[in-house]
Amino acid sequence: MTAGPRRRFRWVAASLLILMALLWGVPASLGGLYRLLVVDQPTDGCDRVMIVSPSPGCLEFAANIVADRGTDQLIVPGGRLRRPERIGALEPHYLLWKRQLLAWGAPEHKVRTVATAAWTPHELFQQLDQQLADGHSGKCQVVTTATLSRYYRLVIDQALPEERAQAYVITAVAPQPADRANWYRNRRDLKRVFDHSLRTLFVSVRGPSEVVKADPFRHLYAALATR
């Protein structure tokens, strides 16, 4: 084979190899990305469950745990109220979560809402831990969407001292119908995984967010109050 045809053969062979690598490698890589975002820890020693993701799947999962395992408490945390909640137009988000849990059969006496003034997830866990520690020795099972599970593990580890952070165990709940094998096949799950990947990356690199605690609609409240 002369130099010209040999070079062309090499180009064709290289192109075919690259194509095959893409066809096999891309789905494998995307599945690998999903696995990177997921942390699912053993729940031995947990006598409390905490919801941090309000997806229907997570809420139902938590309600079933409390009903099946006889867990002592189901904690529903609340961060800083959003503007519609502060002006009374909408119910506080943690009360909505509680109502949904009760609708799915969680016993009311076991559901405990814990309100905080936290602006960020780091502040939320710090304030929650202060309220929940109160001499309690058991572990708390933190239920979250699968693609946010590593994110919350990082947040807890950054926000709390090591011995307190170990008292929180992460449980990952896969959102339906997305899972490791097919999350990139529809736009909604693609967007969700992209957003969660960015959040996880941000927390792992920067840690807590810097928050601008100014209200751009402060001027509106006085006008609304006088109407």
């Binding site: 010209g4 070079r7 959003r82 519609p84 949904q100 959102p175 967007k191 509106l220």
Partner: protein, 243 residues
């Protein structure tokens, strides 16, 4: 042959130096670059008098309040809201348009002032099509589209794509975002997600709803032709004389 190898090395070296220079410039003064990058997304206009304010589905913390501010300034008297296909919602949670209506009512906007279109929107593109249907019934209306500041560029592009000749009836108003802004979005988790995700979404919209794929095919074609010509010239140089 030697000059060809040297010229290829020169091209690669030049590209590497350019990339290093750009990276160095950005890393030495990141803040102005990131502020400009975020500011590019905000194409919001100064509020002006319009017939209708359309609130895009999404951030209930700020978008409805920006619309309420426009009504309070007598720049508009009516509000248009649309339904969204929020399939992930738990049954006890209000639907987005229901929550929007409650916020508007609680802030003094009467039901008669609120126009609702049940369009099951899944995207900004769907909302643009909904507005097109509204303007088919109200052809002379001017509309202020309210959305978050970082969302306005993509919104303006897709609304102008869908509405075509009616783009003169549209105005785009930025709603500020709580906790972060164009000067610090990279230091806030939600800010990073909001701003960084806008760029691939905008690129996707260019391909999905615009002519982005034509540009991509053209660029790939130019690169392919250049590679073939470069390879052909190299083959001619390396082949011995007389073949």
């Amino acid at each position: 042959m030697t000059w060809l190898i040297r010229s290829r090395r020169a091209v690669v070296l030049g590209l590497v130096l350019v990339l290093l220079a750009v990276a160095g410039l950005i890393s030495s003064r990141p803040r102005p670059f990131l502020t400009r990058m975020g500011g590019w997304l905000d194409v919001g206009e100064s509020p002006q008098s319009v017939d209708m304010v359309m609130i895009l589905n999404g951030d209930l913390d700020t978008r409805p309040f920006q619309a309420i501010d426009l009504l309070r300034q007598n720049l508009a008297s009516r509000v248009l809201i649309t339904s969204s296909a929020d399939a992930d919602r738990a049954s006890e949670f209000p639907r987005v348009h229901e929550a929007m209506r409650r916020i508007l009512n609680d802030c003094g906007v009467a039901d008669e002032q609120i126009e609702f279109m049940d369009s099951q929107c899944r995207s900004t593109f769907d909302e643009a099509e909904t507005l097109q249907r509204y303007l088919d019934e109200h052809p002379g209306d001017s509309v202020a589209v309210v959305t978050n500041d970082y969302h306005t560029r993509r919104t303006r592009w897709v609304f102008q794509q869908v509405l075509g000749d009616r783009r003169g009836q549209l105005h785009f108003v930025s709603a500020p975002t709580d906790e972060f802004n164009v000067n610090n979005w990279w230091r806030h988790e939600a800010g990073c997600v909001a701003y960084l995700s806008e760029f691939p979404k905008f690129a996707f919209y260019q391909f999905r709803y615009g002519r982005g794929w034509i540009w991509l095919v053209a660029v790939i074609g130019i690169i392919a032709v250049s590679l073939v010509l470069w390879g052909t010239r190299a083959t001619r140089i390396t082949e011995p004389a007389g073949e």
